[in-house]
Amino acid sequence: MEPNEAQESIEATEPNELIETVDIVVKIKRFDPDADSRSYWAEYTLTARPSDRVLDVMHHIKWEVDGSLAFRRSCAHGICGSDAMLINGVNRLACKVLVKDLGSKIVIEPIRGLEVKKDLIVDMDSFFESYKAVLPYMINDEAPPAAERLQSPEERARFDETTKCILCAACTTSCPVFWTNGSYIGPAAIVNAHRFIFDSRDKGTAQRLDVMNAGNGLWRCRTAYNCTEACPRDIPVTRAIEEVRRAMLFRGA
């Protein structure tokens, strides 16, 4: 990239009479384990475009105001699931919410229920442990047919919605049960179990249901629906949990 181009891209976020801009206040809950004994609110006043995403605003802060701000992001287009945050009281992806939809005051916190490592970065280890616990891969020891394991469009549609999960943790960390009991397996793991339990080619249902029948398994769900509202992929999370519960309840004993 030419130096001129870089200069232009920075100026594009500055006030410009041709581009509509708004003054916004961004409050971010910050924590540096090396310097702070507890978290504190940092406030940034800046100018943004209504069409900016929250992630653009955070880039502006990190690149031009305070380089020590720490947050995760990768693809920046709602697919990688790295930048789930608690934005104005609701879990969402910073790359999928626009400034114009939030108003002039934006409050950003790390997702809840997981240990904060720095600023908006949380320790996701337990989240992925729960994910691994439901055996999120095809289990089928039967001899494969000569060609593919065929599946009808109807059989494929049965679990279509739960294939959309990007493991951003917006659902699990919006769950009041998970906030108070970090051992709860959480909606994300159940969604990913659903994806295989209702797959006609998979034979591992019994193993997965045993995992989720445990003390901190899916019976901990209290149907608060925060997960369903928070999912950036519009997965009907609570419905998936209820379907797995009924599969467990009515499985041939």
Binding site: V90, A224, T228, E242, R246
Partner: protein, 119 residues
């Protein structure tokens, strides 16, 4: 406070009313059990204690809590055992609130004049 929608408030009210009912049940078992100390025992004094204003208001809230908890319990059963319950959980919750009000207002209509009148 996490800005959850209807489902979160339905869950919170269900939990709060459940705890209130459980605590009152314990208290109720205690006050009824005082009968075994006979007519000169502490039973009458304990019941008179219930006539304190905080208890009068509290008991009305426990009644509301029982009605809400029962109706929302039916909502949860519908969500657990039907394929459509989850889809209509918001409407069902508004129904629960409406029915709770419909049952609660007549109760207040009858009870409040009595407790204000000092019966």
């Amino acid at each position: 406070m996490y800005r959850g929608r209807e489902g979160q408030w339905a869950f919170l009210l269900h939990r709060v009313s459940g705890v209130a009912i459980a605590l009152f049940l314990l208290l109720h078992v205690l006050d009824i059990s005082l009968v075994m100390f006979g007519p000169d025992g502490p039973f009458d004094a304990f019941l008179a204690f219930y006539h304190n204003w905080p208890f009068r208001i509290g008991l009305l809230m426990v009644i509301a809590g029982v009605v809400y908890h029962a109706l929302n319990g039916l909502r949860i059963i519908l969500m657990d055992f039907t394929t459509w319950g989850v889809r209509y959980q918001r409407q069902l919750w508004y129904g629960v609130l409406g029915l709770t009000t419909a049952i609660g207002v007549p109760v207040l209509w009858i009870v409040v004049p009595q407790i204000v009148g000092g019966i």
